[in-house]
Symmetry: D2
Subunit: 372 residues, 4 copies
């Protein structure tokens, strides 16, 4: 699917593989959003064209996150959306805030491809649900984006409907590909190559062993601000600049955060969880620059809300508001977002793109030393 | 309690007593917020001093609305707060929006007495709950206000702690006193005497017979804008002006709306219900003037949320989002608010106050004619 | 452009042409949003296929509203977006709320065509602005929608990129076509044929003669709720039902409101103006049903905000917050929205569509009688 | 004023006095909110009663922040209020959000004294402005609070009206007392003694040399989470526990942040600045626990907005939205909040209070070592 000619085989090692821990909580077995049972992730990577070559330089893609593998329209999940910095073109936010449910996959892509991503989600929903706009109402596609203009020929709008559909259809449980993949293909983070990252936390057993997972599309930040754990990386190493994009401060960008949990939580409570995304983001050094559109989505897989319910009143589970579970969810959300961002930075390979700009892979040696 | 020397005995007749119906829904037996089982209303009326007399002219008071007669801190109710026009000094709004619960009575009073109302709610909560700020956290007092400056010596701040406590302690089920009573004593609405009004709707039997009640503190609007049902009252009758307050357009003021229901609804859903308050308000002619601070509170008595729960996860009932119950709640909320405002206007007697200003009772004859 | 085979020539008469006045304010010369100088409106109407015929029955279209005729990306206008009921798929809302500017036309279309409308706005912005995503950041397309499924083969997604571009390119000053036109082609309102409506108010001369205009896409409401001025129309006349869509209550739908003014107002103040959209809507009888997604956009043409400013600090005009201008803007916004909805109902012709469903033109005779 | 028997003379040294720098920006001469010209801070400290003694143990107070030394009601300043975690009893938030101005001092105190703080602000405003609620409308008192129950006999409500007035009246330019002072007297932060802290940043000269200052009331956080700069303090040192408050996790609490600047900014832009408070807070380790009510207020002194303006339209300055000034403001706000919190922790002395609980001063030696 697409044209994926990435000149590297796989992601580089994550920090934990190098012995570097972030935060105090325990990750799940995959340390990824897919540690939340039933959650699926799919990527379509569009990587083609060489610097100095003839065709367009394409460094973009699509990533889809699905709360479960069933029919999402018929079995919705409780959800929330939070806007940290509204400089972004996310779709579906206001309906999630009103109705508290997610009824499609969440699709991530580049800024100018939000329209086609919307179309893809509509196409997929109509295929699966003959009743939409016939015997029932409409569907709320959810799309978020970052601007990969530094590496990708974004004005060429190379994402097609079939790419969106493929990302959804190939979404799977299991390990999550990170770094230069899917929507993350052309993203830049803290001046280094960014992209997709994921992480998770398992809550202490006496909290029921619930899991919180995060997936981020990381495309933000100034090099000098990067902090990883207790290391002020941005004060130690600086990315080389192979570009003449003089007007670019590196502060343009965005960050999309998706938080999943299997803990019982109402939409209102998930809104509280989502607001902790900013805390995780800030721990990596960001102060949410003007140009960094930042949206957080949170959903729970603990229950589904049927589109065609049998009863007029449904029972829904809420965590005790002032019990230990809520704070555990908040902390896990912040930590998972923080680690997901760092995972994106560690795993992303160096990529060159339009105008000869190169986003370099973060050199992790400095961290390996410090973490000993 | 207080000094209540109102020179009239009781409220004038409500529109329904005169054969005038508003909206299409059916009211409950009392056509008041207390048709929602267990809801209680208490008033303390401060009415003393004569125009031209020696002492201060006091036309103010306190009204308390209680979701139930038990310990509200220990048995909270799901709740929402919506701001239509934030030009107002309501207290407790942001915590309701965050946590989705009401844990004290809602106290209404004049603008400059919000502090003492806060104190009264604290006092009452501390008396009942030795654990507050000892073995558990704090309590969230909820106060809203309107500015009765046109009739009342508001700068004298005549509301005392004991008035607030008395309004709470005397709150009772049953009929609700309306018009020139409690917090409504000095209020002006559409240029006429306003104050407290209440109304209710019983949902159709196949929706379970749930009840929606509203109580308003009506102190807003320009005379020419008043619409009652299908009658453009403000274009037909104009209040006489016995005042030299030349700078007063009559558009200063505010409206506080409290909506109660016994239908199952989450805090998010109650937020949706609260947002229909503006629809009810607008039907009476208001376009929410700049100076009209407008806050809506909504709560459900269908469930209580214990402060000291036995379980870490609680089951909570939500109405089916796209089922007939939600729309019925929305419609009932708008109609109950509309009728509560009109009830305030019909029942309020003429009151003279500071600076010789008189707020006249709405002459209802014109409506009686039109409604035939 | 498109395939416009509407079997009727032009809109029916508006209420004012029949001697029926709404509200108390004075409309501008066109009684339309284009009374605000420089504002432009463009429609592309897609009307083809006959009931019982072979091809798809297409009753849809695109409407574009432009604050001015220049380059909107380079000369943005202050703007606000308000969500009354977030059950809708509007795009661009969160960025307007964050940054307070509008930098593209506002495009209205059907629910499932939001993606292509986004694409059209991107296409138009990229054509005009070579710097987007090259030497400057991205662009924020603004799209809102209603669901025309009752009349239109909406699942066929017949709106194409060229339709969106044509609506923008043909947008013009002058009279605004209303009723069955553009995005309004397939819309249903209070059980009758709805669609596009527009209206305006000129503020009293001592307020500077500023103008407020509204354009609505009206596709909401239950027949029994319709109120026009002082006439409870919904209690007097009922639309015939030529359809077997048993599950359709008529309460599905939505309403998009666009409010323009040439008065000086900051984005925050425009937010206040936008919130009065609900007041105008409610005056026509709506209580904002669950299924009625309702979004309001407001912008001011009094100033433009350059994308490439010469100075780091710009001076911007704000109306005095508690002066007469603000209340005049609020009232005018509510009245213009109210009258725009009624104009849509008066001007729309009868349309038959999918499944043999017919949306009848509102019979206006009853109103002509009552208004005498 | 009050009864101030603190058994220690003055604040301990701040981190910068020990050679420890936070962030990358340059502080102003006082490294305090008062580096913003004309901003004033006043404290009244209530510290009396001994552990094991007879009388109540009072560890509380009042802190007032004034944007300027003139009549704030007549010369308001543009302002914003942001809610990170609404579990708190702040007053005045919704009116600031609606109208975008601050017209009283901001008063900080303990949770149960919000009512008296409201009263004090009313008293002060009425004294200065005979026209309030006579020939003009009301005034919007702004109060925020934290819960000092761990050290203070908060249920005794020892703050009196005169304390509030004294804090306002004695507010002065110049250095800001920190730590165990004013509203901070009984606060606990990250398990250590917290309280009042302040810091500032001067923007680079080519940005006009504008100043951003912060003042915080720090009463939040779990010991294990504390991060100071690049040092994970909470993983290195743990506060001794002299208390039997077994149910207290230390996560109860709150943080109030006040951000001042002399840069030109609209209320909307100040809202953006305020939202960066969470970023500063998170850098110190907090993930905004459930019980930590967190409110941010931001105001600009670059312009005043007259209550009695001469013109109906006023010119107001806005920073260029995508210019370097905005990002500089965001970064400075985050850094100033972060450093203000750390300043509170460094300067606060050990305090013992109710139930024999002791909040220990943070031992700073560990940091002095690490920062070399």
């Amino acid at each position: 699917m697409g044209s994926d000619s990435r000149p590297f085989a796989a992601g580089r090692p994550r920090p934990r593989a190098l012995g570097f821990k972030l935060g105090t909580g325990e990750p799940g077995p995959r340390n990824a959003i897919t540690d939340v049972e039933d959650v699926r992730v799919g990527h379509v990577t569009l990587y083609s064209g060489e610097v100095g070559g003839d065709g367009p330089i394409i460094r973009t893609g699509v990533t889809a996150v699905l709360p479960h593998g069933g029919n999402l329209f018929r079995d919705k999940v409780p959800a929330a959306a939070h806007v940290i910095n509204g400089f972004g073109k996310a779709v579906g936010v206001t309906q999630i805030q009103e109705l508290g449910v997610l009824e499609t996959p969440i699709v991530l892509t580049n800024t100018l491809s939000v329209g086609v991503a919307f179309d893809g989600l509509v196409e997929q929903a109509l295929r699966e649900n003959g009743e939409i706009c016939r015997s029932t109402g409409s569907v709320n596609p959810v799309v978020a984006e970052c601007n990969d203009w530094l590496l990708n020929d974004i004005r060429g709008r190379h994402v097609r409907l079939e790419h969106v559909l493929a990302a959804i259809e190939t979404a799977a449980e299991g390990d999550v590909a990170e770094g230069v993949v899917g929507a993350g293909t052309g993203m830049v983070c803290y001046g280094w190559k960014g992209g997709i990252g994921s992480a998770s936390r398992v809550l202490a057993g006496d909290l029921g062993g619930n899991v919180v997972g995060a997936l981020v599309l990381a495309n933000f930040g100034r090099a000098e601000d990067l902090r990883i754990g207790s290391v002020p990386v941005g004060q130690v190493v600086t990315p080389p600049r192979d570009s003449n994009l003089g007007s670019t401060s590196g502060a343009e960008g965005s960050c999309v955060m998706i938080i999943a949990t299997d803990a019982p939580a109402s939409a209102r409570q998930l809104g509280r969880v989502a607001r902790r995304g900013q805390s995780g983001l800030a721990r990596t050094g960001s102060f949410s620059e003007h140009g960094s559109g930042e949206y957080v989505f949170a959903f729970s897989t603990a229950a589904t809300i049927p589109h065609w319910p049998e009863k007029e009143v449904r029972a829904t589970g809420e965590a005790r508001e002032d019990g230990p579970l809520m704070d555990a969810l908040f902390e896990a959300a912040a930590e998972a977002v923080e680690e997901a961002i760092v995972n994106a930075l560690f795993t992303a390979e160096t990529v060159s793109g339009v105008d000869g700009f190169t986003a370099h892979a973060l050199p992790t040696a400095v961290l390996e030393v410090r973490s000993r």
